[in-house]
């Protein structure tokens, strides 16, 4: 793990470069984040959809996409998600290293120039976005919001979080809301976009056979962000679980019940206890040797999947399982017993060792993926900590049973959400 990120700044943009010759491509990610807010969530969600329709140099969508094809089918895409109490837009570009093909111009230079234009020089007319693009992308986003219901597992998971966090900005979906979307047009969206360029935190990552100097030289030519200094992220506010667990049952045409539970965990990615918390999550439901898998699936044969997921940036944990509707109560009882057992420190030392070995393995494995290394490093930027792969591995290996039991005391069930069929009683 001798490869290290090199860091630089170009105006409002933090630049992180990982020089490496191991991959056949250059991996590029641009992160832009602002605090999640009711007012801005929808315009910011719509923005990348409109930006991917055309730029100043390639204003027509077909020419924009042909440009990507000509760059040897560069992989281009974006994601929208919540990290802690922030709304993040991530653009990704994956482009092959020049040495595998015969080209005259640097493909990295071409790719950064393209990305810089996507972000800072979109296709505009009369100081606003192209109306046609805005209208079409409003439909696209609206359809995506509606489409969450298609995948019942995901739907149940998002509904559980929405119910648990109903008094916080975190309840907002990263895609925004249909009501706000309807209010957006080419002018007001363009204003929101300009504001976003002025106040979002921007981090550009490049991994590949290059250097910080080379990347900075390309970036200065193509990223036309407003003047200023980089802005940083603020830490998430930790909340404790509601006094009494709330239970939400929702009915839909499903054959299998989807059981979700939301918990507050009392620590975040930036906390010293984070390593112990990650081990806790692994013991409870992160792996096939975990309590949930063993007790809900292997022993009781109640489910095909039963797992837990830790959102360290927000300080919450969710448990999910698909069960026969008639088995709902049995499953809840078994899952609660597992949470209780963790509090009582009832877990085998071998299982703790296994969990540590699995997490360490995952941390080592991510060194082999450029995009995963980038995500890991960006988590540091978000949380204001300085973890390297090696230092974090050492933290995980130092976790003791007492440390796990200590974090278990801070894990509290907040919400039970069950998605079931429309029949009366099963």
């Amino acid at each position: 793990m001798s490869e290290q990120f090199q860091r630089g700044v170009q105006g409002r943009l933090r630049v992180h470069v990982l020089p490496t010759k191991r991959f056949k491509t250059f991996a590029i990610s641009l992160f832009a984040g602002v605090p999640l807010s009711e007012d801005r969530v929808s315009p910011i969600a719509l923005t990348p959809f409109v930006l991917r329709r055309g730029t100043k140099s390639y204003p027509e969508t077909i020419s924009f996409r042909e440009r990507l094809d000509d760059l040897y089918g560069a992989g281009f895409g974006f994601d929208l998600y919540k990290r802690g109490d922030n709304q993040i837009v991530q653009f990704r570009l994956d482009i092959i290293n020049d040495r595998f093909v015969s080209v005259t111009d640097s493909l990295l230079g071409e790719a950064l120039s393209f990305l810089g234009e996507v972000l800072t020089a979109p296709a505009v007319e009369d100081d606003r976005f192209r109306g046609k693009y805005v209208e079409a992308e409003k439909t696209t986003v609206s359809n995506r919001i509606d489409a969450i219901i298609n995948d019942k597992i995901r739907y149940a998971s998002e509904r559980c979080i929405e119910e648990m966090c109903k008094d916080e900005p975190f309840r907002l979906p990263a895609l925004g809301t249909k009501e706000q979307l309807a209010q957006l047009n080419a002018s007001n969206l363009y204003e929101e976009y300009r504001r976003w360029l002025q106040d979002a935190s921007f981090d550009l990552y490049v991994s590949g056979d290059t250097s910080l100097d080379e990347v900075l030289a390309f970036v200065s030519k193509s990223f036309k962000l407003p003047e200023g200094q980089p802005s940083s992220y603020s830490p998430p506010k930790l909340r404790s679980a509601r006094g009494e667990v709330q239970t939400i049952v929702e009915k839909l045409e499903v054959g299998q019940g989807k059981l979700n539970m939301g918990l507050r965990v009392g620590a975040t990615y930036g906390s010293d206890q984070y390593a112990a918390l990650l081990v806790y999550n692994g013991l409870l439901g992160g792996f096939p040797h975990s309590k949930l898998f063993i007790n809900v699936r292997e022993k009781a044969s109640l489910a095909y999947y039963a797992s837990s997921r830790l959102d360290g940036h927000k300080g919450i944990m969710t448990l999910q399982s698909g069960v026969e509707i008639a088995n709902y109560e049995r499953a809840v009882v078994i899952i609660k017993e597992q949470i209780q057992a963790m509090k009582a420190g009832e877990f085998a030392i071998e299982d703790l060792r296994k969990t540590q070995a699995m997490i360490v393995n995952q941390l080592r494995e991510l060194q082999d993926s450029a995009f995963e290394r980038i995500s890991f490093d960006f988590s540091n930027v978000l949380s204001g900590v300085e973890r390297t792969g090696d230092s974090f591995i050492a933290e995980i290996q130092a976790v003791t049973p007492e440390m796990v039991t200590a974090v278990a005391q801070g894990v509290e069930l907040d919400t039970i959400y069950f998605l079931r069929d429309r029949k009366e009683e099963a």
Binding site: D94, K152, Y305
Partner: protein, 426 residues
Amino acid sequence: MSTQPYPKLQETLWHEKLDNGLEVFILPKPGFTKTYATFTTRYGSIDNHFVPPGGQSIKVPDGIAHFLEHKMFEEPEGDIFSKFADQGASANAYTSFDRTVYLFTATHEIEANLDTLLHFVQNPYFTDENVEKEKGIIVQEIDMYRDNPDWRVYFGLIEAMYQNHPVHIDIAGTAESVRSITKEMLYDCYNTFYHPSNMTLFIVGGIDRQETMERVKKDQANKKFPPGGEIKRLFEQEPDQVKNEKRELELPVSLPKCLFGFKEEPGEQKDAVRKELASKLMLEALLGASSALYQQLYDDNLISDGFGHEYNTGPGYSFSIIGGETRDPDELVSRVSQALYDAADKGIPSDIFERTRRKKIGAFLRMMNSPESIASEFTRYRHKGGDLFKLVEVYESLTLEEINERLREHAKPDRRAISIVRSGKA
């Protein structure tokens, strides 16, 4: 050990066929921390009627290959996931139409993990009790898929296309077929299809190829296998015509999901790899995100970003799948079909052909960053008589004439089937 250097890709593959018939491939990736190994049998959901070497013809219940995959993880000494976890590895498996793949990834104790992989796949342990217990879990897995509209519309199309060929049978089977499975049937399937001569081991990562090969050879030399022989797979005659022109199903979805495609002449596939690449290039040229048709359909709000296409071939079958979610399935099918028929008459323009070829080569090179994809795709192409590392050469040798010929052969109005999932009239 024979070597196959691929200087253009900067990769060298090592290969040996062992005395017991097992094919072993090693791809060293210097500098990678992770090792990824797959152990694959040429046995999947379509192999439900067969004659074992020197035996009598057997017909087995639907879903048995997948059931067998689940049961392989159980050993007399306990659950094999737990053993892998002890060694810091994560293990998994999947079953497709014509393959069952067992795999692990690890960064440490590679030799021990390799031993475990070979041991558990070559050591079946089925009891009446453990077979019975698995049924509840698999029925929940089937129910989970039944609630998933993407899976239902996908399988609905294959069911519409094929009348007799077992590719139309759900990989997991049905609750009824799964309940009829016994340990004796599992042993019959195991003994037929898990002979080393029907299997391939692929190892990729930061490993020493000499040591690794020696380890595998020694392991295999210490195990006794009966002599292998030819497995006869029996397929009923499949008519050229599709079974149903259209199949519809009701499930709660935000927008109708619509897939359609063309069934090609059933039977043995000649030059399957070249045909597959030509077909994929042809479909991408006409329907990819930078095609004029895609943009028109998007502008008319008939497709979303999820619109896509694929081409599948295997023993006795080959077909395309086109579509996604749409407000109007009939209009989508009719416009895309018409565009394909028109293009078959007029031919694909050469500049579009060249750009698409470039894009496919770029996508291939990007895929070569992922050890997981390399292992999986290598074995898949090898089963079809091809070589993953020579795909760039195949792409480079394709001609426009060939692509147009492929299109004329493929897009035949009387070979089309449609599958739609939409919400019921609530």
